[in-house]
Symmetry: C2
Subunit: 190 residues, 2 copies
């Protein structure tokens, strides 16, 4: 998606440790006009798939997921991060490893909101090592729901997440795929 790539080139900042800072428009300050274009593109890609729910994970996926859901006319569920081990109630749960923060945490979704009859589109802002996405996929699978695919804003294609998830037969559509990046060259897209 040209618009998103342009924006990353213009406002993204490459930091040491393979960090791509896009917090001026994507995951701290959020440009909802850009999110509308992102949502429309996901609707173009997945609009024929009979999606009944959009699933994301807190926190930075929620904005894109909600704006996108308007084009699908379906509700959003966000998986909650649960650092404690006290998971209350009737929930599906997965373990996710955050490489940025070096922590393992649980993500949970109440069973009542993810049904075997659902056709689920996962939406997230980033795909890097794929741990969060694999965790979300497990929630859908545990619920016996159908997974339509995953719509990702920015995929760091030089990290293993995309290949990992696609090797499980999941359709992953990333709107900007970063091939390489460095403070010298900036961001190069696939």
């Amino acid at each position: 998606m040209e618009l998103l790539e342009q924006r990353i080139r213009k406002d993204g900042k490459v930091k040491s440790g393979d960090v791509l800072k896009v917090d001026s428009f994507l995951n701290h300050q959020m440009d909802v006009k850009l999110f509308a274009e992102i949502g429309l593109e996901f609707q173009r890609l997945f609009g024929a798939e009979g999606v009944t729910k959009i699933l994301t994970v807190e926190a930075s996926g929620i904005g894109i997921a909600c704006i996108t859901a308007q084009y699908f006319d379906v509700p959003v569920i966000f998986a909650k991060k649960n650092k404690t081990k006290n998971i209350a109630g009737d929930v599906y749960t997965s373990k996710v490893e955050s490489f940025t923060h070096g922590k393992i945490y649980d993500i949970i979704v109440a069973k009542e909101f993810l049904l075997p009859t659902d056709r689920v589109l996962i939406i997230d802002d980033f795909l890097a090592n794929g741990s969060a996405l694999m965790g979300l996929i497990k929630l859908v699978s545990d619920a016996g729901a159908a997974l339509v695919g995953a719509g990702i804003a920015v995929e760091k294609a030089f990290q293993p997440g995309g290949e990992l998830v696609r090797s499980h037969g999941v359709r992953v559509e990333s709107l900007a795929k970063v091939k390489s990046m460095s403070e010298e060259t900036g961001v190069v897209f696939c």
Copy 2:
């Protein structure tokens, strides 16, 4: 807002410990059509105030804030919760006490996104004891920005947050004000 009150009456669940569960449409599963009506109402209330930024706090405020921002044509910033004490970079920070979880945590916003020239509307899903809202107000104040007010979906008017925040001269507009609630009587609005 009649539509939101109706929805709370229909789908909200009163639990022990003054808990109002609205997670089927507001803060776990999210009804983005309802959010659009909420956003329009906030636009009606605050649309003449020259709002330049909408500020919320992760996680459950983000969806309502993003949908609302579409009607104001402004970006959203969400304050990040930071349970560690390692706050990196140039940020404004406040302490917030969660009565639900019994924890004190920091919320942070990068200084570059909250400017003295900004006119800020705070949006959140709940107002109960007011700790999160007072924390957000402090961030706006520390930035030297103008605070237009706070738009809240559900205020538990029998808890002290609303009075606390209004006593500081802040305009608080709550779309559903819960006067009392119990498992027997259900939810009574002001």
